[in-house]
Amino acid sequence: MVIRNFRKKALIAGLIFVLTGSLIVGAGLAAGGQKALIAGSSKPWYQTIWIEDGKVVVSLDFLNGSLFHISF
Amino acid sequence: MDSQLKKGLLEICVLAALAKQDSYGYQIIKDVSQVIEISESTLYPILKRLEASRDLETYSVEHNSRLRKYYRLTDSGRRHIADFLDDWKSVMAVIDFIKGEVHHD
């Protein structure tokens, strides 16, 4: 199957996903998510976003290494 | 046939195949192969060379939803054929001479 204008559609799909995701995140934060994200040492490994020392961390640890890690 | 001679003849044959009307690759092969053996890989360099020497020009025409390359003989190409025919007259004279001498023996 060939999708016409594949790149254009991929661009639109990517932007829609980013937008939807940030809306969900925004909604979560508006509903008092700040507090809920503060994680103690009991944070399960599959939690990929949390707040640590006042910084938001988005990270995926895998086999003692970090596949992805940003904090701001 | 001597390969150098054949090369020269093929060139003129290709030009001659375009004398009446513009033509395209496969048609040229069909026309020329009636008198002398020619294949795609021999035609290609000849067409390219004749185009470079401006004996023919090309243009593309849409044909059954694809482009087909057509070749057109230029004035220089016509002169080329005429020169060849002129030259050939003297070659024929030489051949007649050779034939004559051989038959005398």
């Binding site: 909604a27 944070k43 596949l67 | 890989s41």
Partner: protein, 196 residues
């Protein structure tokens, strides 16, 4: 052999030709096959009437002429050779510096597609884990944290599509830049000599 197989084989045999030239040869062969098919020949027969792709490629390549090393300096004079050898520390260093700058440029330019690929892969994992684990976070940590994680996962999914798109755009662009430079460098030292 089908038309496609023939043309693929021809393409492969001509892979070292620059693209525009390859296109001319390719179109020529395709036209020859398609004109035969139009003339009523079955596809296999039309292809069989042509020479093999390798023979065809050979004819194209031979006609194109061969590469010949060109050296414009009057190397035949003894003086030039001596000067070349004595001057090596100077021109050798300059040449090396030039090559290094070129290499650095390529490394820098190559970073863009490289980063795009790395981002695609790592965001893929982030998206997978974030989205699929968000229900568990909702249960074990808190509902809102799980929702936020779901949002992060969806964002990562979008980011990964954009990064993949970036990679698919920049890789051919980078490849073309490398090819062009290689051709330019080659043209400095080699020239094409036509056979005819």
């Amino acid at each position: 052999m089908t038309e496609k197989e023939y043309l693929d084989a021809l393409n492969k045999a001509l892979k070292w030709l620059p693209k525009p030239e390859k296109e001319i040869c390719f179109n020529y062969a395709r036209e020859m096959i398609e004109d035969r098919i139009e003339n009523g020949l079955p596809e296999a027969e039309a292809v069989a009437q042509l020479e093999s792709p390798q023979q065809m490629a050979k004819a194209f390549l031979e006609d194109r002429g061969s590469l010949k090393f060109k050296f414009s300096l009057p190397i035949n004079s003894v003086m030039t050779v001596i000067l070349l050898i004595l001057g090596f520390p100077l021109w050798g260093a300059l040449l090396l510096a030039g090559l290094m700058i070129l290499l650095a440029g390529f490394l820098l330019a190559g970073c863009v597609p490289f980063i795009c690929v790395v981002m695609t892969v790592s965001l893929l994992f982030v998206a997978l884990v974030s989205v699929s684990a968000s229900p568990f976070v909702m249960v074990s940590v808190s509902l809102i944290a799980g929702v936020i994680q779901l949002g992060v996962g969806v964002m990562a999914l979008g980011g990964l599509i954009l990064a993949a798109l970036g990679a698919s755009l920049t890789i051919p662009w980078f490849k073309a830049a490398v090819m062009k430079t290689a051709q330019f460098l080659r043209s400095l030292f080699f020239q094409e000599v036509s056979k005819w």
